[in-house]
Each structure stands twice: as C-alpha cells, then as structure tokens.
C-alpha cells in the first residue's frame, strides 16, 4: 500500500526530467507523461484490487504520525487518486504535447492532486493545494492572449488572498493545538477547536481552500478563466481540481468541525453560490461562461450537501461531485469546438450531430432527469435536505429553483443547436475532445443500469469517509486508547495540551 506514494512521486519525477529528456529523446518526452499516468492508474487499480477496503495510514519518511506527515488511504482517497490519474490522462494536452513545460505542469497538477487526495496533514494539504494553484496558473494562461493573462492574474490575486487566509487559519489552528496531523487534530478538536479560535481558523481555511472549489465569494475568477483557458485546462479545473478542494473541505468538516456553526457557514456560502452562479449563468451569452457560472452553482449545491449533518450529506455531496466530475469536463470539451456565443451555435446539430446529441445527454443528466445518474445524485441531496430544519428547507428550495433555471438556459443552447430554419454553422474538427466527451457520455449511460450497486458502494465510501473514530484509530492504532504523544513519553496527549511547564523568562 505504501506504493501509493508513487502516484505523487512519479509524476513529479517525470515533470522534473521532462525538459532534460526532451532535449535527448523528443519522442520519449511526448509519451512520458501519459506513460507515467498510465502506470499510476494501473498501480492504483492494483492497490484497489489487493486492498481489503479498510483505510490505511502511511507514515511518510517512516516517522510516526504526530511527528511526520501521514498519508491516509481510504476508499475515497483511493477513488480520487484513481480519478486524478484517469482524468489527467483523458485531458492530457495532446495537441500541445510538443511543449514540455505544459506537459510538466499537467504532470505536476496530477501529482499534487493525488497528494491532496491522500494527505492527512494540514500543512501538507496546504502545500499541495498551492502546488495545484501554481500549476493551474501556468496551464490556464497558455493561450498567451491578453485576456488570458488578465484572467489568470485575477485568478492569482484571489488565489493569493486565499493562500494568506488559509495560512492564517493554519497558524491559528497550530497555535491552539500544536499539531498538524488531522487525526490528532480530530482528537483535540472537540476541546480546543470548538471555540471562536477554531471557528475563525475554519472560516479562513474554508475561504482559502474554497478558491479552487469555486466557493462563494472566492469564485470571481471562474468565468473569465474558463472563458480564456484551453478547454482541457478548464475541464481539469472545473472537473477535477474543484472536487479535490471539496475533498479538503470534507476532511476538515468531518474531522475537525462537526459543529453546527461551521455547517451553517458552509450552508450559507453554498446557497449564495447556487443563487449567484445559476442566475449569472442564466444571463450569460457565451457558452463557456455559461458553463463556468453553472459550475459555480453546482459546486454550491455540493457545499450545501456537505453542510447536512451526518452521512446522508456526505453521500449526496460525493454523488454530486462524482457526477459533476464526469459531466462538466465533457461539456467544456464539447464547447471547445463550437463558436462561443450562444446565438452563433445555430444549427450546429446538423454539422456535428454526435456533439449536439452528447450535449443534450450531458445537459439532461446535469439537470437531473431520471434515469440518468444526475437525477440520483440530486435525489440524494433532496432527501438529505428534506429531513432537516428550516434553513435547509430554504436551501432545498434554492437548489430546486436553480435546477429550473439550469434547464432553462441549457436548453436555450439546445434550442440553438437544433435550430433548423437557417443555414447551419459547422463545428471545428476536434476529434480528440469529442472522443473524450463521448467517453464521458458512454460512462454516464452505462452507469444507469448499475445505479443501485454504485449507490451502495458510494454509501459505503461516504460512511468510511465520515467515520471520524475510524480515521483516528487508523492513524493511531492503539485501538480506542487515548493517544500517547511521543513527546510526553507515555503521557496522554490530551493532557499535554493542558497546562505546560511554566515558561522561564
């Protein structure tokens, strides 16, 4: 199981060596990235097969948990590592494979995303998160147009702001607890992090780590970046990276902040995200920004889901996230070959029937039309929300209203695509993007008959991810016993957090 670290290390190694190899064997450099990702994919699949489904904690560098960095491998983390390899492979920038820097950045994104999925250490999460940021800055600016630079800059400033906030939050948490290990933090949280300090830390970390997750209000970069970035980069960001940000928030919530105020905060921001995103999307006049705004709305729904206490919310959020992860990239890829403005999509279905059909399929699933998977995800959310108190009911109304708006604007696009009265526009040829999108569509369709087992499996995953005790016991296997910090030489850590030796002036 410790080989899972390879999914971080190997892409990094490949990225480092890519410029060097590129000078010697150009052909090798072109395929190195995909090969490495393929290997990672194979590795994860193999680990999946050999693992018994129980979570495993890995001590990086061989140092025991509270001191060293822990990687926590449960089903969810493994799933995300798998998805990282898979998605980066699918969204590999083939057209621009000649540019070793872009390939290197994509590899770095893959490695750091895996790290983000696996990490069990607060600061380590921060580091990988920043790495994802920096790699994505480069990737979204590759078109080298003025608009792309400005959009990336706006993204960078927001992201930098978020970095500062996250760092402040981590500083607060560390000042309060003296540890960064999530499991240990989980043990200490009920005592130390329930107060204003802890909550302030949560607020800062949420805003900081929410930037990639398109959390309101740290999402103002989204529309311009997706409008100017290459489709594959947009797809990666909207599809994959945003979900990793969600994963971080999920871990924080489950392990550190299972309290009402934190959940309410998340609920509020999620609702605002849904409202603002969907309304803005309704007004959007070009397809890419429409997709970007709708992505904000959908991620808002996931934050709402996570704000539901208990495993029902986790399950709903995960289902929504996985569905979005499949659908949104495909939509961005489809949009890549089309002209931007919605009015100019007129009659495209005749030139590219497959693309138009795929768009309809994906849109239907996104809206939540049964029996497509999107429906079941939305259903889980509705079921989760309906069982809650008044604020959640409001959120339910918002989510459902948003679906109406979604249907309205997505099908405005469909109406343009199938417009028959004038001469048809033709899409650019873009077989590769279309193929990837078609693959997503096929996966979506083939998931329909297996919804029931998929749902059960996902419920198990969510239950595992939501199992705080399990996390602690996995990292500190002294089953059920209070944690012994090495510092105290057998003294309980909880006590160590109490009165300390009188400081000497």
């Amino acid at each position: 199981m410790s080989q899972i670290a390879l999914t971080i290390a190997l892409p990094f190694l490949a990225a480092f060596l890519l410029p060097v190899i590129g000078r010697v064997y150009e052909a090798l450099a072109r395929v190195l990235g995909p090969l490495v990702l393929l290997y990672c994919l194979w590795l994860v699949l193999q680990l999946w097969g050999t693992g018994d489904g129980h979570p495993v904690a890995l001590a990086m560098g061989g140092f025991r948990p509270p001191m060293g960095i822990t990687l926590y491998v449960d089903r969810l983390a493994l799933l995300f590592t798998l998805l990282v390899s898979l998605m980066t492979l699918l969204l590999w920038p083939w057209q621009r494979a000649a540019d070793s820097r872009e390939c290197a950045l994509t590899l770095l994104l893959a490695g750091s995303a895996s790290g983000l999925a696996l990490s069990g250490d607060l600061f380590n999460i921060y580091v990988f998160y920043e790495l994802v940021s920096v790699a994505s800055f480069g990737l979204v600016a590759v078109h080298r147009s003025g608009a792309a630079f400005v959009a990336t800059l706006r993204y960078l400033v927001i992201s930098g702001f978020g970095t500062v906030l996250a760092l402040t939050g981590i500083a607060l948490v560390y000042s309060q607890t003296g540890t960064l290990n999530l499991a240990q933090l989980a043990q200490l949280a009920p005592d130390l992090l329930a107060g204003p300090v802890g909550l302030a830390g949560f607020l800062f970390m949420l805003l900081g780590f929410g930037v990639k997750g398109e959390l309101f209000p740290v999402n103002t970069w989204v529309p311009e970046v997706y409008a100017t970035a290459p489709a594959r980069a947009s797809a990666l960001l909207a599809g994959l990276v945003s979900k990793l940000s969600l994963l971080v928030v999920l871990r924080l919530l489950v392990l550190l902040y299972q309290q009402e105020q934190a959940l309410q905060l998340l609920l509020l921001l999620g609702v605002l995200g849904v409202i603002s995103g969907e309304l803005a999307a309704w007004r959007a006049r070009d397809l890419k920004r429409m997709l970007a705004f709708s992505s904000i709305g959908q991620l808002g729904a996931m934050f709402i889901a996570f704000s539901i206490p208990g495993n029902a919310g986790l399950l709903a959020g995960l289902a929504l996230a996985l569905h979005h992860l499949l659908v949104k990239p495909a939509l961005f890829l489809l949009a890549a070959g089309w002209p931007g403005a919605v009015e100019r999509l007129r009659g495209l279905a005749r030139g590219g029937p497959l693309a138009a059909g795929l768009f309809v399929l994906l849109a239907l699933s996104l809206i939540g039309v049964p029996p497509l998977p999107g429906f079941w995800a939305k259903m889980l959310l509705v079921v989760g929300l309906a069982g809650q108190e008044s604020g959640y009911l409001l959120a339910l109304a918002v989510v459902l209203g948003a679906a109406v708006l979604e249907a309205s604007y997505l099908f405005r696009v469909v109406a343009q695509l199938y417009h028959r009265d004038e001469e048809a526009a033709r899409p650019r040829p873009y077989l590769l993007d279309l193929g990837s999108a078609a693959l997503a569509g096929a996966v979506l369709l083939s998931a329909v008959p297996f919804i029931s087992p998929l749902g059960d499996w996902l419920a198990g995953t969510a239950a595992q991810a939501g199992d705080r005790e399990g996390y602690i016991i996995t990292v500190f296997p002294a089953a059920g016993r209070p944690l012994y910090s090495a510092a105290g030489g057998g003294k309980p850590a909880l006590a160590a957090a109490g009165p300390l030796p009188e400081p000497k002036p």
Partner: protein
C-alpha cells in the same frame, strides 16, 4: 411475464423498432400496427373490471433503499386506453399522405414517429408506476418526451417548447421536493406507506404535500397560474403530435392528481384543511382553481384566431372540468371527471385532426383565411361537427354525459358558484367552437380554396373512427361508465351506479338511449316536414345572396370572421388583462435583473473587497 410486462415490452419494442427501422419505407404503418397490438394487449388486460386486483409487473428494481415496482390498476388502465388509442389513431393519421407531405416540407417524419412511440411508452410506464419513485421517473420521462414532440417543428415550436420545459422543470422540482417531504415523513416512497402516514401528518406538512404535488402535476395539466405554456406548445406541435398531446398528454397531470390527492392522501384530510380567514378549505381551494381553469382559458380560446390555438386553449379549460369533477369526491362528480378525460380525448384528437386536415389541404389554420370548406371537405366537416358538439357538451355526444354528471355532482355538493362557473365555461365553449366551425367550414368559400379536395382516406378514416366513438359512447355511455366505475373503485371513490344508457337515480336520471333516440326521431320528423312538401326550390350559387341595404356582390368575397363576437367583446374585452402573461413577464424580468446583478458581482474589476467583507462578517459571526 404478466400481462403488464407484455404490454410494456411491446411498447418498448415499438420504440426499438423505430430506432432500428429508420430506413423502412412504410414505417408509419408498422407503427400503427404496433400501436394496434398494444391496444389489443390493453383490451386483453381488460379483465381489470370492477373489483379486480391490480395487474403487477414482474419487474422490481431496488435502488437507494427504495424498491421500484410497476402495476396497473383500473385507473391506470383507463388512462392507458386513452393513451394507446390516441397513439394508434395519431400514427394512423400520419402513416399515409400526411407523413409524405410532412417529409416533403422538410420535416423529420422518423423523429416524429419515434417521439410518438417514446411518448406512449413513457406514459405507459408512468401509468404503471407502483411507488412514488417510479412515479417521478415516469413523470420526468413523460415530460421530456413531450418536449421532444413539441420541439420538432422549427424555431417557434422550439421557443414554445423551451417555455414548456421551464414550467415542466418547475413542476418536476416541486414534485421532487414533495418526494423529499414524503420520504422524510413517511420514511418510504411506497404508496401504502404514504397512505398510512397521512393521518399522522401535521397540517403544514399536508399543505406542503398538496401544494408541491399539486404544482407538479398541475403544470402538466395547465392548472391556472401554470397554464401559459400549453396552448402555444401544443399548437406548434406537428399535426398528429398535436392531436396526441392534446388528447392525452395533459391528462397525465390529472392522473397524477387523482393518484396522489384522491387515492393516497384522500379527499377527507384535504377537506379538513381550512384556510384561515376564509370560508374555504384546501379541497375547495383546488376546486376553485379548477373552476378558474375552466373559465379563463375557455374565454381566452374565444379570442384566438388560429384554430390550433383555439383548440389548445380549450384543452386547458376542459382539464378544469375533469379536476373539478374528481375533487367532488362523490360518485357522480368523480365519475363525470374521469369519464370526461376519456370523452375529451375522443373528440379533441379528431378536432385537431380535422384542423390539420384543413391545414393539409389549404396550408393554413388561420380562422380569418378560411371559410366555406364544407362543400369541399364534407367528411372533415362532419368530424369537426361531431367534435364540437362533444366539446361543447351538447347531447347526443359523449361530452354531454360527463358534463351532466359533473353538474349533477356540483348540485348534490351544493356548490352554486362552482356550478355557475362550470356552465359559464360551457357557454364560452359553445360560442368559440361555433366560431371555429363557422370560420373554417361555413360561410363563403375563398377563391383560392375552390380546388380543394377532401383529405385522403388515410387521414379521414381515423378521424371518422374517433367520431364514431364520440357518438357511440354518447349514445351508450354505460360502456365507458363500466370502466369509470372500476377506476373509481380502484382509487377508493364511491362507485357510480349506472345503466347502459346513463344513470338511474332519484336525484335525477339520465338515459341517453332515450334522449338520443328521441332527438334523432325529432330530426327525422323535422326532415320529414321539411322535405315532405316536395322540392319546389332551385339551386343557385352560394354567393347569390340577399343583400339588404348592404352591397354584396359575387366578385368581392366577404366572410364575417374577424372579431366574431364584437358585441360581447365590447363588454368583456376590458376583462382580458393578460395578468398571467404580465406575471410571467414580471418573474422573468426579476430573474433577469437578479442575473444581471450577479453578473455584476462576478465582473468586479477588483473583487477582493467582497472577500474582505465576507471574512470580516464571518469573523463577527464566529466570535459572537
């Protein structure tokens, strides 16, 4: 394999055949035959008579901790009969010349046929649903396949369909919230569990249930504030599609309302929900909604100048009768409501077909551009005549019987205002259907229509067939009332005691056999009187008119069609305020404005200030 499995498989097979057989030359006839087979299958299932247990499907799917299952009871069967019948006649209608013509004008006939088959399949699936989850899935399938049918016909149709889909989504989402509510309160989505949980519901929960499901199904039905999409969407659907949708699609909403409000929740708990500060309870509120749904769309129809729009608006209005009848909850009223659903389908479909036959021959359905076609298209005229008599609810057609039951129910129930509303709706219907038939078939034949011929047999036969059904079930309403009674029994309503000719009751009986027979006897005597004197008249040209003080000459054709009810309109014209249009527009504008505001938020040249504000506000909240 139960009978239901066979039926659903057959419907699925129809869809698959269409998918596969795009290149088949006479696909339309195959489709018709397959619909015929479905119809036959349905009739064989007809053992679902009074008191028979539901026919289950052997298909069960467990998902998300819920078991989805399918079954047919007598109510489903009745609606399925309407569905498949409408599908059968519609596909027959398009199988021959109409389809060829449609394809020549650039329409995608295959897609239309596919859409029909998909619609029928999804409706059967919906009607067969055995729990709320399969109900919702079926419902969404029906909604979206209807969208497919509506969106086929070019840009206007697409615009109307988009409007539809926005409404339909709103309804579906309301229903989804309803599902959440049910799952939360009853713990399961099974019908039985919901029915069992109803007595334990608090009154806000019950209100929520009624309003959410009412809105969900009401959208499809075109219940009042949610009706705006319907007329335009239906009238833009290609011919047979329009007759199919007009006949049955809207009725799925009625079926859903019957299922949830009557069968599962029950009318008694609904009637116990008083609205504070009024005399009304929830049931009466719904009844008033139904009554308004009768009146306003009917009188909107009166103003339409396109035959398709006129019929489509009537479709909305007639739905109000059905709901009104069912909500009465007594034997007569509910039987009337259920029977009206059947009757309505039998005359609305041929009416649309007749209009499309006229369109097929003349190229227009604008009521100001037609006239005098009775001499050219007598069969279509006959069909329309039978249809409008049915639609107006006059004897001897079947529409009268169901309306009579509804009126009777309202009198028994002691609802004078609702009764008046219902009758006022009928008068509006009479006025507007006369305008329809007058402007289309009566009056002066336009110069450009002199060469028009009767529609081809492939179109007239299904029309005539349906007209015959209208007449026969009007003459022998007991045939339909048998099915209706079984459906009443299936949903737990009091069962109407009926005879072959109608109803026998001390409250007032109706025997259509006698009434119709005597009417025809009367006509016979009238004809005898009329023709007995021998024919001492000579035929002159139609335009050889008596002119009075006005100048009327044969070379200037002059058909009185526009602003047909000028005197009435001078009186009620100011009442047409388009309030609902305004409401819809206002809602749209609000969303636009909010959307613009949100765009502005995302277009900030420097968004960090919001971040700062949120951070500070969040900290305040955290500390306090």
């Amino acid at each position: 394999m139960t009978a239901l499995d066979n039926l659903l498989l057959l419907a699925l097979l129809t869809v698959l055949l269409l998918l596969a057989g795009r290149r088949l030359s006479s696909l339309g006839w195959y489709l018709t035959i397959l619909f015929g087979a479905q119809f036959a299958g349905l009739l064989m299932m007809g053992a679902l008579g009074y008191g028979a247990p539901p026919v289950p499907s052997s298909l069960h799917i467990g998902v998300m901790g819920q078991v989805m299952q399918w079954r047919f009871d007598a109510l489903s069967w009745l609606f399925a009969l309407i569905t498949v019948g409408a599908g059968l006649t519609s596909s027959w209608y398009l199988a021959g010349d109409w389809g060829r013509h449609y394809r020549q004008r650039g329409g995608n006939l295959w897609l239309l046929q596919l859409a029909l088959a998909v619609n029928v399949f999804s409706m059967l699936l919906l009607l067969a649903s055995g729990d709320l989850l399969s109900l919702f899935i079926g419902w969404e399938l029906v909604s979206w396949s209807a969208f497919l049918l509506m969106a086929l016909n070019g840009a206007d149709a697409m615009r109307a369909a988009l409007r539809y889909i926005t409404y339909a989504m709103a309804g579906a989402m309301a229903m989804m919230a309803g599902l959440g509510l049910v799952l939360h309160t009853a713990g399961s989505l099974q019908y039985a569990d919901l029915a069992a949980a109803v007595p334990t519901l608090s009154s806000p929960q019950l209100w929520g249930l009624i309003l959410l499901f009412g809105m969900g199904f009401g959208v499809k039905m075109g219940l009042l504030p949610l009706h705006l999409w319907q007329a335009r969407a239906y009238s833009e659907t290609p011919g047979p599609g329009a007759s199919f949708l007009g006949a049955v699609s809207t009725r799925m909403g009625l079926w859903g309302l019957i299922l949830v409000l009557v069968q599962l929740v029950g009318l008694v708990p609904i009637a116990d929900l008083a609205i504070p500060y009024t005399f009304l309870d929830a049931r009466e509120l719904l009844m008033w909604v139904a009554a308004l749904t009768i009146i306003l769309p009917t009188y909107t129809a009166l103003r339409q100048n396109d035959a398709r729009m006129l019929l489509a608006w009537h479709g909305i209005g007639q739905g109000g009768y059905m709901l009104l009848g069912v909500l009465m909850g007594d034997a007569m009223g509910s039987a009337g409501g259920l029977m009206h659903a059947f009757n309505y389908a039998t005359y609305q479909a041929p009416l649309f077909m007749a209009v499309y036959a006229v369109r097929y021959r003349t190229g227009t359905s604008d009521l100001n551009r037609l006239g005098g076609l009775v001499t050219r298209m007598p069969l279509s005229f006959l069909v329309m005549l039978v249809g409008i008599i049915g639609l107006a609810g006059l004897p001897p057609m079947n529409g009268f019987v169901s309306k009579w039951l509804i009126y009777r129910g309202l009198i028994n129930d002691g609802q004078p205002l609702l009764f008046i509303a219902a009758v006022v709706g009928t008068f509006g219907t009479i006025l507007s259907v006369y305008k329809l038939i007058h402007n289309t078939f009566l009056g002066q034949l336009r110069l450009e229509h002199v060469e028009v011929r009767e529609a081809p047999w492939s179109m007239t036969v299904p029309m005539l067939l349906l007209s015959a059904v209208v007449f026969v079930t009007g003459y022998l309403p007991g045939l339909v009332l048998d099915w209706v009674a079984a459906a009443q029994q299936a949903v737990g309503l009091p069962v109407l005691v009926h005879t072959l000719g109608g109803v026998e009751s001390p409250l007032g009986s109706l025997d259509m056999i006698w009434v119709s027979s005597l009417m025809f006897a009367g006509f016979g005597i009238g004809a005898l009187l009329f023709y007995a004197g021998g024919n001492r008249s000579k035929a002159v040209h139609q335009l050889d008119n008596y002119a009075g003080g006005h100048f009327l000459s044969a070379d200037v054709r002059y058909q009185y069609s526009d602003h047909f009810y000028a005197g009435l309109m001078r009186h009620i014209g100011p009442l047409y305020r388009n309030s609902f249009q305004w409401l819809e527009g206002a809602l749209g504008t609000t969303v636009e404005t909010l959307g613009a505001a949100m765009r502005a938020f995302y277009r900030q040249h420097h968004p960090a200030i919001y971040l700062l504000a949120v951070t500070t506000a969040g900290l305040i909240w955290v500390i306090l």
